[in-house]
Symmetry: C2
Subunit: 272 residues, 2 copies
């Protein structure tokens, strides 16, 4: 190339720290998925409900900590969760929201300020990104990351413990692993109960009601090699599926892959 041809100025969002990442999302400079933003920091699933549903939903989460590990709750009417980030604003800091009325999707937006109400309670729920980072740092390959796909997810026959209107089967995510890596993954993810913890199943999808492990109900399929076992973790899509069944009068959730970036380091989610 001719030496005088200058490269186009690279637009590089400095989103290596979570505060900067949220500001870029808030300003609209970052849209879509939050995968790869603020590496090392916890990202959360989001569910925002009117306060009349909040006690039942919180009880549901308490009864089902593996699929629904609550890592933050806002005061009724407040869009802030200072424990997860001093300036964090639930109305603007997620790049994609879904707004639901009576169980029907009524809007997809990158800002829910106009939908905010003084009776809303936000629940932030741990996400598998945190334990995937710990697995990757241990040298374990995560197939859907390698293939740049969404994690495959399945509705199962594993019941959740109901609370009020919230009930329904557990949704799980699946990662194919060699047996020795599966054992190591049990050890690593057991240290992270606030981000789904240890697997709920290994090796025999039919036992948890999965008819075809190559055809996920949500996300993308990934191949399972002959020397691998499918390993299943409780998934943060479970609360969304349960809310969908409960058909609350009003609800806001994050759009798939558009998570809430927090100031909590992933390593701080480890109990040991």
């Amino acid at each position: 190339m001719p030496a005088l041809a200058k490269a186009a100025p690279e637009i590089r969002h400095r989103a290596d720290d979570p505060v900067a990442a949220r500001h870029l999302i808030r300003s609209g400079a970052v849209t879509g998925t939050t995968a790869g933003l603020a590496p090392g920091y916890v990202q959360g699933n989001l569910a925002i409900l009117p306060s009349e549903y909040a006690a039942d939903f919180q009880r549901f989460c308490a009864f089902n900590p593996k699929p629904c590990p609550v890592i933050g709750i806002s005061e009724p009417g407040s869009p802030y969760v200072p424990a997860l980030g001093e300036d964090l604003d639930l109305r603007t800091d997620v790049p994609g929201y879904r707004v639901w009325r009576d169980g029907e999707l009524v809007a997809e937006t990158d800002d829910v300020t106009g939908y905010w109400r003084d009776d809303l309670v936000g629940f932030v729920i741990g996400c598998s990104y945190s334990f995937e980072e710990a697995l990757t740092e241990d040298g374990i390959e995560i197939r859907h990351i390698t293939l740049n796909r969404k994690v495959p997810m399945f509705e199962t026959n594993i019941p959740t413990a109901p609370a009020g209107p919230f009930r329904g089967p557990m949704v799980v995510s699946m990662r194919p692993l060699k047996p020795a890596d599966a054992i190591r993954a049990v050890q690593i993810t057991s240290r992270f109960p606030a981000v789904h913890g240890a697997p709920v199943h290994i090796g025999k999808p039919e036992m948890i009601g999965i008819k075809d492990v190559r055809k996920p109900d949500f996300g993308d399929p990934v191949p399972i090699e002959a020397d691998e076992l499918p390993v299943f973790w409780a998934c943060g899509v479970t609360p969304q599926a349960v809310i969908g069944r409960a058909r609350p009068s009003f609800c806001i959730t994050h759009a798939p892959g558009s998570m809430l970036v927090t100031d909590i380091r992933n390593t701080r989610m480890a109990i040991l």
Copy 2:
């Protein structure tokens, strides 16, 4: 039954504590297996070698801590291991010994005092009894215990790291478990690195060179149900197999199932 018919006096060996158990063994009142003796206390595999082999063997164990977790070593020439029991005597406190010369079995006896030499070093190696107790206390069924059989053991294609003349494949024990119990068993046994620790394999016996999981190389076969996975742990028979291959000029081992009862509580083997 007539009220006057007195029951025959029950001979019940009071071997609930390890010191009493060793004294009963030493006196000849207890023979054969030590299974069920001094519940709650660590039992060990035993390997006694001339000092010329001791450094290589200890290095072999250090290189292969999963099959060969050393929990005690005697001073050269001494039959005592006070760290495992103040009065513990390696010559008399195991109910069955095997004596080997140049790799050939030359005697089976319950007392090796006559074979003792002032250059012998005793190695006590952790045993799966300790983690099986932790699994059972968690409500997990151990199939071979239910069936009153020996645990099924297999030679694998998993290499050990060699040291001097000591080399050869890892021997593993197998326990069939439901997938959720297998995950729990990984968690529990990970806490016990000094008694073989976490499993080395799960679910695919052919991957570790096991042709027929129903036909163990040592111990007894146990059934594996359709809703179970075979789970494999490194086994304390590995050092015996490796010593057998090395054919040292002289060696004493415990007979299968006749372990060394120690004063260490199983719970003290847990790192967490």
